[in-house]
Symmetry: C2
Subunit: 209 residues, 2 copies
């Protein structure tokens, strides 16, 4: 493949290699897990051999860590975009959750990173902690500030949610975990589930007297 490609120059190929390897590694690691994945299989996905992978990454450990970093796409911009939205606090909360849903539960990449965080987290605790800092904490903070604003404006009532803003996001996690567990064997309608949760979270279950 590499040899017959006339279009890509040697320099271009070399520049491309690291990303190619990291993406192939993602596929293998997510399907088989860290230990069961063979570096040789990662290489085979690109039509190269194990030795090539070791030219770019010193060990299997580092390959995994850099793969995780490379596949973690930041969504600070996503959270920022919510601030520009107008409408009621409820509307903005809904918009934020749907955006988070797209990024977390509906995106295979992020979902599989969640699986790896749980399955290999004890082996790579600093990866999990970094993931918390960069992804989980900002999302919870965004939800928290949105709820706070809603309370300040009088649209939302005060309640225990202020202490645990993440209860609002648990439905997203729920969908992601469900899909990781059952794949296509038990499909789940994500947006409908989110809306059911929003209906519950906004209006509550109790009859309004």
């Amino acid at each position: 493949m590499t040899k017959t490609e006339k279009k890509t120059s040697r320099a271009e190929q070399k520049a491309r290699r690291p990303q190619e390897i990291l993406e192939a590694a993602f596929e293998e690691f997510t399907v088989k897990g860290y230990t069961a994945t063979r570096v040789e299989d990662v290489a085979a996905r690109l039509g190269v051999t194990k030795g090539t992978v070791y030219l770019y990454f010193p060990t299997k450990d580092v390959l995994f860590e850099e793969m995780f970093r490379h596949m973690s796409t930041p969504f600070a911009d996503l959270l920022a975009s919510v601030d520009t939205l107008g409408g009621s606090a409820a509307d903005r909360l809904r918009a934020l959750l749907l955006l988070a849903y797209d990024k977390i539960a509906d995106d295979r990449k992020t979902r599989e990173l969640l699986r790896l965080s749980l399955s290999e987290g004890t082996r790579f605790p600093d990866i999990v902690d970094r993931h918390h800092e960069e992804f989980i904490a900002p999302l919870i903070a965004a939800i928290g500030s949105l709820v706070e604003k809603g309370v300040a404006s009088g649209e939302f009532r005060e309640g225990a949610v202020a202490k645990f803003p993440d209860v609002v996001a648990s439905s997203i996690l729920h969908i992601a975990v469900w899909r990781l567990m059952f794949a296509d064997r038990r499909p789940i309608d994500g947006p409908a589930f989110i809306d059911a949760h929003l209906d519950l979270a906004l209006n509550g279950l109790l009859q309004r007297s």
Copy 2:
């Protein structure tokens, strides 16, 4: 250890062995995952050698499957006990969720089985599906029927929750996943989290006008 024990007769020891092995296997598999776990380490936990394990279980695969089955303690009785409870629908819902919390998020055994379902689920899909049938589906059904009764009695309003009863349980899953990810590095107050979620789910976020 086994050798020096004078109390247990040979027959007793032999009868005990399978359970002992399955419990040792649980410890090893949950810490290291399926592939990284060595059968020899499972045996070493009991002070015996690999050969003994193979005397009771034909392969590592079967050992894993039977371990999973052995560690899955049913909670049909738990769900049944809720039916005997009196009080308002809200009270009973709270009781059910706290019971489910104890069994799922607060119990290390169940929590680690969730981790294994996610990490090794693609390798053992029928284990995951059986787990759904025996644990997840009954729990969702119990919540659903409780909500339904609340609606019938007029205590609960009708809403999208009827279609997705599991949105009510997502906070439990949330706590379990959180603890699997961060262990003791980021403690989470389970009951307080549940109550925050219940406050949200019962009363809603919107100011009552």
